[in-house]
Point group: C2
Chain length 328, copies 2
């Protein structure tokens, strides 16, 4: 019997989940919740009902799992605990510093309802976190390095768009090649923020806007840009559409460690992603953990989990027996 | 309180485990079992007792977990089920085709004794298997590729050593660079065995041995060499010792997959290992799963597990709370 899955929030991630489900014969998309007027939302999957998010409780017995596709800033801190009272849920909450408090709120809700919630699922937090954990457990004498990019940071793009005179903006995070090579060589360097990544910003400016002021505001923006070497390039709206419409991303987690009584041997573990579409890849991870959430709930588990708490076998549609025979 | 760990079999892997434990403040090496005369075995860790393997049952309450460091051909099929009757155990059984039957034997033994056994732990099977599983679950529309090397294959080296006139041999498995690059580019090619790897053999021949015959016997050896392009180089015993004493290995698991309603986006996941010492890295994995076995047993689990059944959080000495705060 198929897993009955619903999407909550039909933006980039929600559409990615819709597409990812089409690759999973064991999962069926059975509903989409939206805060917009449901009749205005046009899905790409025919025959799937669109519901008003406010009515979620009415459908609490309809779905095996709901993937929450809202943003981490304001949506998920409220939505995930609320929906965990009704459904098994998965979210991609990615504000690293606030994970412990999000976990506590979701865990309380899911324990009360007897549901399973898996939070902070995606690639960072998510697959990159898992890579850091495996690597540092195997080679505790060592150091992990995470490089992001080359790829579009939505948060940084949004920050630039809020500057006066900016009509549109796209920000690429770019690892410094020499830093990557140094780590790959087996050295265990200490880097400043500036030494690991640069930032490239493409801006469509309003006519007559003060470009020097825009450049200065970007480069000195606290937290977002002030600790990085940033280049700003002005382009036309046409160029933006033509060359910067996709949302590629990726990056690499390195772990450089030593073994032997006298640490005489060195090892490099490298986990790398090269993604054409950040939201669609994130959606693929979410759907795999949605399958896991359903299996965990069926075994009687309740409460909040992260990628650290879920054995990899739960992510696959194959049985444990098939996995041992075919994939081990 | 420290985890009390014992090693069963003091060869390359056993010595690697001994070294790996020194990097783990939460684990203490408390004994070594050997089939040799115990008084002839000289450990590198002072004060650790060496016991006769035949006496293992006498010590069944002494250890929280025992790492079985024998070979997959004849040692582990007998030792792991036998020891799982006495201890929580971890092994590195790596004969892929025989994993299901090994699992069944170990599972029966461990369920009877109420112990936890984790089998086929290392990097392939092991971390490479986990990478293949995560990747194929996230991007089910796609293909995985495993390349091994450049590194020493002990099995192939042993096979060459059995040829008449060969005094010593070392075999390196080498991925074909063009094949690796093709996969990394996002293509999803089909390869023959020959197109993925080449084999380099270094041989110390006996004086007067027929070198042409040795070359022919190597290159035509069924299963080991006949499906590969193999180069054979004769060297002196001195060169063997100087240049080929280490046991480096490694390799890469690629997963190349697509997303989007029309599979319009491509993604590459790459997990790569570059290891100075194959046995010491394998030992690092074994020790992390030994920690997991102890935690699983403490929670009341019993029976045989593989890397697919163990949530990554169990591998770390950190608590779930610390992991969420620091590593997610």
């Amino acid at each position: 019997m198929s897993i009955r899955l619903a999407i909550y929030g039909y933006g980039n991630i929600g559409r990615g989940v819709e597409a990812a489900v089409t690759k999973c014969p064991d999962i069926e998309l059975c509903g989409v919740f939206t805060r917009r007027a449901p009749e205005t939302v046009q899905l790409r999957t025919p025959g799937v009902p669109v519901y008003n998010a406010a009515d979620a409780e009415k459908y609490k017995d309809e779905f095996d799992v709901v993937i929450l596709c809202g943003g981490s800033a304001t949506d998920l801190p409220a939505q995930t605990p609320a929906m965990a009272k009704l459904f098994n849920v998965v979210d991609s909450f990615d504000t690293h510093a606030k994970i412990p408090q999000h976990f506590a709120a979701v865990d309380a809700a899911a324990k009360e309802s007897g549901k399973v919630a898996v939070i902070s699922v995606g690639w960072d937090p998510g697959m990159f976190s898992v890579s850091r954990l495996y690597a540092s457990s195997i080679l505790p004498k060592g150091q992990s390095y995470t490089f992001w990019g080359r790829g579009v940071s939505q948060g940084h793009s949004d920050a630039v768009r809020r500057i006066e005179g900016v009509l549109d903006a796209r920000q690429y995070t770019v690892p410094v090649p020499a830093a990557v090579e140094l780590v790959r060589s087996g050295a265990q360097p200490q880097f400043t923020t500036r030494q690991k990544h640069t930032r490239e910003v493409y801006v469509v400016a309003a006519e007559g806007a003060d470009r020097e002021r825009i450049i200065k505001e970007i480069k000195t923006m606290p937290n977002y840009f002030d600790e990085y070497d940033t280049t700003v390039t002005f382009i036309t709206a046409g160029e933006m559409k033509e060359k910067h419409s996709n949302l590629p991303h990726g990056g690499t987690v390195f772990h450089s460690g030593t073994s032997g009584i006298n640490d005489e041997h060195s090892h490099i573990i490298e986990y790398s992603l090269k993604l054409d579409s950040n939201p669609e890849f994130t959606a693929g991870v979410l759907v795999a953990y949605a399958r896991a959430a359903v299996k965990l709930a069926a075994e009687g588990h309740t409460g909040c989990k992260t990628v650290f708490d879920v054995a990899p076998g739960y992510l696959s549609p194959m049985t444990a027996e098939e996995l041992r025979a075919k994939m081990l």
